[in-house]
Each structure stands twice: as structure tokens, then as C-alpha cells.
Amino acid sequence: MTYVRSTFRHPALPKNDLGYTVDYYEGSLSTLCAGCGHDSINAAIVEACWQMNIEPHKVAKLSGIGCSSKSPAYFLSNSHGFNSVHGRMPSVATGANLANRDLIYFGVSGDGDTASIGMGQFVHVVRRNLNMVYLVMNNGCYGLTKGQDSATADAGSKSKAGSVNLFEAIDLASLAIELGATFVAQSFSGDKEQLVPLMKAAMKHNGFSFLNVISPCVTFNNNPGSTKSYDYVREHVEVTGTMDFVPMMREITTNYEAGDISDITLHDGSEIRLHKLQKDWDPLDRFSAINAMQRAKDKGEILTGLLYINEDAPDLQSLLNTTEKPLNSLDREAICPGSAVLEELNSSLR
């Protein structure tokens, strides 16, 4: 980590359509360890939001507790943040979303926060298809309490102290697909090229977007024998395909070489242009996504990229048939029935 951040910015830093340079999307100085994967992910969030021309105050960033959950302070300083309690970010995000459907909800969690203490809330927010991005910074260990194994540590993975994890890992991405998540992707903190378009698509997706990002813990889980170390992950990453996110009304600029290219149109007309590298995998088909992940697992590979997407499923607010206007901005006439109605009610109770 850097204790003093330079305030110098290149005078010719490019501006996005809103006229902001990328530093406008940064947060306060990170207090995570130097080389922490989480900081790379935070940088990708900043980049994605800048590229997407997002107004920061239209984003709410939420988290639970842990190293990853400190992150909301380190990106988008012009957004409201809620660093809540351990494993409970999904419920806070659900309430916040119900109050104001017009913001983008960006949730950041960790493997302890999601796969252990927060498992109950995680599985339920998935099945409600809450319109949010849920990003897990997954390092297989509890960093903030000095490196205990988490529930996503692979069986047989070795800790820094040399102990071997005895228990099966919870595969969050497969679980999310199983539970009905409508956008599921996996990535690696060291692969910004892949992360940024995934985040952009995730923010545009109308429904629950799950990003499981392997994010090595440099201090406690980056040793030989760990399956969440930088070296191990780099050696075992297998991508589903390369993709580009094409915002609505934007000209497609990426040119892929000949191959299996498919376009997926998102809710607002944006497109994901996908260059598939995996055979027998169709991101619109849950079964093939799960199969692809299981095959990769068998081969000891970590499958990254977009895994599954379903743009047609209604999100929580659609399911609840809530009004288009955010509930926090309804006029009094719309919410208070008034004295005449009360008088009728009184009469009916006599």
C-alpha cells in the first residue's frame, strides 16, 4: 500500500462523456496490503464506472465485514457507501434497492462474508433476483484475522503456516447458477482486461449479477501449495471466452478474429459481444454453464469469464409489481389514505 498518494494528474487525462477524468471515480487511500488482489479489483471498478459514464452519486456501494468489505471506501468517493455487518450486506442491499430502484447497487463481499457467515443471506438474495452487482473478492482465507481457511479454500490447499485444508470448497459461481442467478461470471483480480467488461455488463444487467473474482491474499495465502496464490491461479486459469461490452448506441469497435462470436443483448439495448473459446458451452444455457464449470474443475482449471446470463427473468421489483417511481420519493397522497378513509375504518370496527 502507498501511504501518500500523488495528487498529480496528467493534464491531458482523457474525459468521459460526462466530462470526468478517471480520478473522479477513485476513493480514499486503500489500507489493504501492498499487492492485495482487492486493490486491483477496486481499480477495475473505477475504470468500468468511468468508461460507462456512470454518475457516481447514482451508485450505492455496499459491503459486509472483512478485508474485501473495506473496499467501498477505496472507490467512488462520490457515492454513498454502507459498510454493514458481517454477512448481512444482501439484506441491506435489498432494502436499499426497494427504497430507490433508480440507483446502481454495487455490493462487495468476501469469501468469509459470503460463503460462511453470510451464506443464508447470499442464497436468498440470489433467488430473489435483486437488481444488483454482487462481487466476491475470493481469496480462500480470512485475511483480517490472519489467514484462517475460508469455506472457498480448496480441499488440499496449503496455508502459509503449512496446514492442509480438509474440507471441500464451496463453489460460489456454480451455486449461484443453481439458485437462479441471472448473470454469473468468474474472473481473476490480475486480469483487468477481462474484469472491466464483465463489470460493465454486470452493472447493465437487469437482475442479480454475480462476479466471483479470485483475488489472492498476498500476506496469508500466496504460498506454494495454495490454490489461491497468484502463481497457481495464473497457471490454472481457463477462460470461457473473451468479451466486449458494447453500450447502447455505441459503435462496436472491437474486431474479433474469425471464431465463434455471439452477441447478447441486454435489457437496455447494450450488447455483450462474446468470442467463445469453450466448446459445448452456451452462456444462455444453465446446464451447459454448470457442465463447463464441472469439466474445468475436474481438470483442475479455474474457468473464468462470463458463465451464464439470462436477460429475461424479472427482478425483485418486477416480481413485487412495485411502482416505477422510487418508493422513497412517493408523494404523501400516494402513501397516506387520510382522515376520510380512517373514518370509514372506524365505522367498520363498531
Binding site: H57, A60, F82, V92, G95, L316, L320, L342
Partner: protein
């Protein structure tokens, strides 16, 4: 020949749950109400859906005593499982109404009570062929029979049946027929009316018959709550049921058919209150309802709400603890749990409604309080108040009511704060043509050009908050349960931490004046002894005070309506040498709260307790106080 009791008796119905007795018994209560006579019903039901004993006790009281009274004057015993005990429970001189389709066993041989056999099963079997109808109408048959015995006007029952089945008119005729089966049997076989009688009066005026849970839900509706998140638990479930019912009636946009509300059944109480906090943090009014076990789970979020200063409304419909306890019995036993919920130094404002009207008003007020104070507010009702119907004053709503959304900065206000900074000092705020608006914005200068989420510029301990999405460049911050400075920046600096928690203590002091003030039975304290009671102990306590007065024991009385306790509360405590604290739990929790918060000498506070899960009775209070006075 029994003594004639007009408008002053207790009837208990002993039924099997799941047999449709609840609506029939409620019909009896409503009929007495329509006769203009004060009546108070209590459901005494099992934690079960079908097949176990359930009782419904109705007290009729011309004098308007609405608490429970001991002694059953008439028992309607239609449950063989509990009949032995039900039989024994009839007061001497009372009546035992039973189904004599089969003869009563010879050991039911009390000669101090009157046995009234009505062949309910026989009458129904002869009249109806459908098994479910035979069962359901048995209940209506005994209502018809009782009405005739009590001299309740038949037209009143007819009217109620008509209202109950409005829209399902097919059902009116068979119900009336069932009533008549009972009526005719009584007329053919007994002398009627008998010694217990309901005589028409006009004692109720504008009063209504309503349950606390429905009233809480309606309070939330009128306060503009748009989000409810909950997890099913007896006895609070009907709060959200009622909220959903009212929402579907009053909160659906007539043009679009879309809902101006959202209700989520959460995966547990942790999530339920988390959702409420997320919604209130984001500017909507939201609430949850639960009972003791749920409050236990909500502790972590209550601590967050206190420390991060997030408004939250929680309705705790208390039941008998600890643990699962007796889920369908009442108690006031979450007082200490709620007052100090969560680890660390925490305190939460509590409201203690005593009537459905207060449930309505206090729930509505709780939203103003929680947003004004930026801290969770807990409404402490209980099973007795929540799930039973009570006679209560009619509900009133002033259409001029303005919601108090508390200290929330608008986009313009945020910009004015920073405009002051750019001009170098606070004096350069542009003059507004409207002097009132100018005055309204004057406080912004106190920020000295920089807003801080936890800055106390007003000296009342309450800072100014902002809602996400308000302004593009000003007012963003991270809400967190960890220590932070006045500007919302994470800190582990001990002094900054202490400044913050001291400000929270100051805010607590501010709350004293804002919460509902205690009610006093006398204009001025004059007696050496005082009595303190709250919530559902109120009716019984007031009746007991009258009983004591007849014995020459007169005392001043205070009904606290909220925690923290303010000056009026302290003055009452100081003005009396001995205070009886009446409450419905074993450990005298309210008394403990008085000792902790006010430092009252333990020897000054005498406990009057009831904790068997049944609503407290006047007789019980009377006996306990009398014994202590004669010690």
C-alpha cells in the same frame, strides 16, 4: 336461583382449535359490543394449528373494566380434552353449557352450578349433511343459544352475520338457520333469559373494537411506511398480514395497478431488520415486526443502527420467554433485551402502547422519532394487546399532519454549505427573497463550509444526514459500524471515538423530551405511595387501584409511555417514598430499568408481578399490593 348479573360477568368458551370456533366466538363479543356494553375478549390458544384445546374468554363489564377478571360465570365446554378442568373452573353459582348429544359422565356432579345441556352435535347432524358444516355450525348453534339466554337482541346477530358474509350471501341463510337452531332449543327447553344478562346500553360512544396488531399496521400505513420486511413469528405475524391487507386496499396506484409499497418475507429476522435498515438508510420509511426470539436475532443490526445512526422501526409483540417459551402466551419480558439490545454501550428508545389506539398513534409517531433521532425505535406491544380485540377510542388522523423526516440535507442545502466555504467564510450565503427560507438555511453556516455526517452543529447530539443520489458532488459518505470521526472518516483515535459516543449520549438526553410523556391518574402527586404500570397491565392496574381505594388504600399512579424516562418520570419517583411497579415478567425488568437509569434505591421499589403467560388480572394486583401494605 342465581343472583342476576346484568352486564357484569365472564364467559369462557372451551374449544378445539381448527374447528371454526374463533369466528363464532368473536361474533358473541361483537354482539355484546353492538348492545352498547363494554366487553373484552381474550384468546387463550395453543401453539398448534388443529386439534388442541383453545379458550376464548369474554368479560362483560358495565363499569368499563377492560382487564381480565378471575372467575368464570359461564363455561361453554365443547372440548372433551379439557372438559374436566373446564368444569372445575366454573365459579360457584355459575353455569356449565355442554353438548348433551351424549350424556355427561356421572362424575360431573357439582351441585353449586347450573348444567345446561344443548345437543349441538345432534341438532347439526339432523340439519346438515356436510361434515365440515356440521362442525362449523355447532359453534353458531351455541351462539344462538347463548344470545337467547343472555337476552341479546337477535337482530344484532343477524346484522353481524350479514356484514360478515357480505359478498358471500349464499352463506348468510345457513348461518342464520344455525343461530335459530340454538335459539329454538333454548326457547323450548329453558327459562329465558336467565340470571346473566346483557342489557342494551349506550356506554361505548365512538369507541371501536380493534386489535393492537392491526392498529400498528395501520399506523405504519398512515406514517407512510412503504417497505416492510419480516419473518413469520407468533404473535407478530398479524401485524404484517394487516399491513399487506391495508396496502392492497390503499396503496395500489389506481392508474397503473402498480404497488406503492414492497413487502418481503425475509429468510430470517436478521435479514428482515437488515432490509428495513437498508430502506430507511436510503430514504424510505420501513419497519419490521417480530417477537422476543426475533429481537434476539436482531441484536447485531440494532447495535449497527445505534452506532451508525440509521433509523429503524421495530414492533416487538412480546410473548412468553425465554427461548421458545410459550409462543402463544403473553408477557412483558423483553424490556431489558430491547432497551440495551446489542453489545457495547447501546440504548434504544422504547414506546409502550396500552391500547390499540396507542398502537396506531405510537407506530406512526415511531417513524417521526426514528428519523428525528436517527436511531432504532422499538414499539413494545405484546400478545394480549396485539392479538386480542380491545375496546378503544376511535382513531383520529389530522390531514394537516406533516411527517418529521428529521435532519436530512437537500441538494440545495449541501451546495449552500460549500458555497459558504468557497467564499472564505460563512457570511456570503446569497440572500433569499423569502426571509423565512433565509432563516431556514441559516444553520448551514454552522458547518463552516464543510458538511460532516457526524457533526453536532445544533448541540442536541443529532447530526445531519444525506440520502444516496441527492447531489452529484456533495454529501456522499460511508455508513459504517466501525468508529469514525465527525466527517464520517474511519478512525481508531480514542478521543474521536469518545467524542462520538458522548454525542450519542447527548442525543439520548434529547430523546427524553421527544418521546411520549408519562400519563398520570392524578393532577398532582399527593399520596406517599405511587404505582407504576405500563402497556397491557394498565386496565387491570386501574381496576385494582379502585379496589384498593375501597379498602382505604389510595395511591398516585403513573403510566410511563416511553423509554428514556424524562423529567416528569423522575419527579414522580422523587415525590413518593414507596413505589409499586406492576409488570408481567418474573425478574421485574422495568423496575431494574428504573434502578439502572434513575439510580432509584431498590428498597423503594416494590414489585407486583405476573408471569404465568395469562394477561394480568385486577384481583391479582389487588392481592399483591394489599399483602405488601399489610406487611
Amino acid at each position: 336461583m342465581q343472583e342476576t348479573k346484568i352486564n357484569d360477568f365472564v364467559v369462557r368458551f372451551a374449544n378445539v382449535n381448527g374447528t371454526g370456533s374463533a369466528s363464532a366466538n368473536a361474533l358473541f363479543t361483537k354482539a355484546v359490543f353492538r348492545m352498547g356494553v363494554p366487553v373484552t375478549p381474550k384468546n387463550i390458544f395453543p401453539s398448534n394449528i388443529q386439534g388442541l384445546p383453545t379458550w376464548y374468554e369474554v368479560r362483560v363489564s358495565e363499569k368499563g373494566y377492560l382487564g381480565r377478571r378471575e372467575g368464570v360465570d359461564l363455561m361453554v365446554a365443547v372440548n372433551p380434552q379439557s372438559m374436566k378442568k373446564d368444569y372445575a373452573d366454573v365459579a360457584s353459582g355459575g353455569y356449565f353449557v355442554y353438548d348433551n348429544t351424549k350424556p355427561l359422565s356421572p362424575d360431573y356432579d357439582r351441585d353449586d352450578i347450573t348444567h345446561l345441556g344443548i345437543p349441538m352435535t345432534g341438532l347439526c347432524n339432523a340439519e346438515y349433511t356436510d361434515a365440515r358444516q356440521r362442525q362449523l355450525f355447532k359453534n353458531i348453534v351455541y351462539i344462538g343459544a347463548l344470545a337467547t339466554l343472555f337476552d341479546i337482541e337477535f337482530s344484532v346477530l343477524e346484522g353481524l352475520i350479514g356484514e360478515q358474509f357480505k359478498g358471500k350471501e349464499k352463506l348468510i341463510e345457513p348461518n342464520i338457520k344455525a343461530l335459530n337452531l340454538g335459539v329454538d332449543f333454548v326457547k323450548d327447553n329453558f327459562e329465558y333469559p336467565f340470571a346473566l344478562r346483557v342489557e342494551r346500553r349506550d356506554l361505548l360512544g365512538d369507541k371501536i373494537l380493534y386489535s393492537g396488531n392491526s392498529a400498528c399496521a395501520l399506523g405504519a400505513i398512515y406514517a407512510g411506511a412503504t417497505v416492510a420486511a419480516w419473518y413469520p413469528i407468533t404473535p407478530s405475524t398479524s401485524v404484517v398480514d394487516a399491513f399487506a391487507k391495508y396496502c392492497s386496499k390503499y396503496r395500489v396506484d389506481p392508474e397503473t395497478g402498480k404497488n406503492n409499497y414492497a413487502i418481503v418475507q425475509a429468510e430470517d429476522e436478521l435479514a428482515a431488520i437488515g432490509m428495513v435498515m437498508g430502506a430507511m438508510w436510503n430514504g424510505a420509511r420501513a419497519f419490521t415486526a417480530t417477537s422476543g426470539p426475533g429481537v434476539s436475532l436482531m441484536n447485531e443490526f440494532l447495535g449497527l443502527g445505534y452506532f451508525a445512526e440509521v433509523p429503524t422501526v421495530l414492533i416487538d409483540v412480546q410473548r412468553t420467554g425465554p427461548s421458545t417459551g410459550m409462543p402463544t402466551r403473553t408477557q412483558q419480558s423483553d424490556i431489558l433485551l430491547a432497551a440495551y439490545a446489542s453489545h457495547g454501550d447501546t440504548k434504544h428508545p422504547l414506546l409502550f402502547p396500552a391500547t390499540p389506539k396507542e398502537c396506531f398513534e405510537m407506530t406512526a409517531q415511531a417513524f417521526d422519532l426514528t428519523e428525528r433521532l436517527q436511531t432504532p425505535v422499538i414499539i413494545m406491544t405484546d400478545l394480549d394487546l396485539g392479538m386480542n380485540d380491545h375496546i378503544t377510542d376511535e382513531l383520529v388522523w389530522d390531514d394537516a399532519t406533516q411527517y418529521d423526516r428529521g435532519k436530512v440535507l437537500s441538494s440545495t442545502q449541501l451546495e449552500r454549505i460549500y458555497k459558504a466555504m468557497s467564499s472564505g467564510n460563512g457570511s456570503h450565503i446569497e440572500a433569499q427573497p423569502d426571509s423565512e427560507a433565509e432563516h431556514a438555511g441559516a444553520f448551514l453556516e454552522q458547518f463552516n463550509g464543510k458538511w460532516g455526517r457526524y457533526l453536532d452543529i445544533d448541540g442536541d447530539g443529532i447530526p445531519y444526514r444525506t440520502i444516496a443520489g441527492t447531489n452529484a458532488t456533495r454529501g456522499a459518505f460511508v455508513t459504517r459500524g466501525s468508529s469514525r470521526d465527525e466527517y464520517g472518516v474511519y478512525t481508531e483515535d480514542g478521543e474521536a471515538y469518545q467524542r462520538n459516543v458522548d454525542r450519542l449520549a447527548k442525543k439520548w438526553k434529547t430523546a427524553e423530551e421527544l418521546v411520549p410523556q408519562p400519563e398520570f391518574l392524578q393532577e398532582q402527586s399527593t399520596k406517599p405511595d405511587g404505582v407504576v404500570f405500563f402497556g397491557t397491565s394498565t386496565y387491570a392496574a386501574e381496576e385494582a387501584l379502585e379496589m384498593l381505594e375501597k379498602d382505604g388504600i389510595a395511591m398516585d399512579a403513573m403510566r410511563p409511555r416511553a423509554f428514556p424516562f424524562g423529567k416528569a418520570f423522575r419527579d414522580f419517583v422523587d415525590a413518593h417514598s414507596r413505589i409499586f411497579v406492576i409488570e408481567q415478567n418474573r425478574d421485574a425488568q422495568f423496575r431494574s430499568l428504573m434502578m439502572i437509569e434513575l439510580g432509584v434505591d431498590a428498597s423503594k421499589l416494590m414489585s407486583v408481578l405476573n408471569y404465568d403467560g395469562m394477561p394480568i388480572t385486577a384481583d391479582n394486583i389487588y392481592r399483591q399490593i394489599l399483602a405488601k401494605c399489610r406487611d
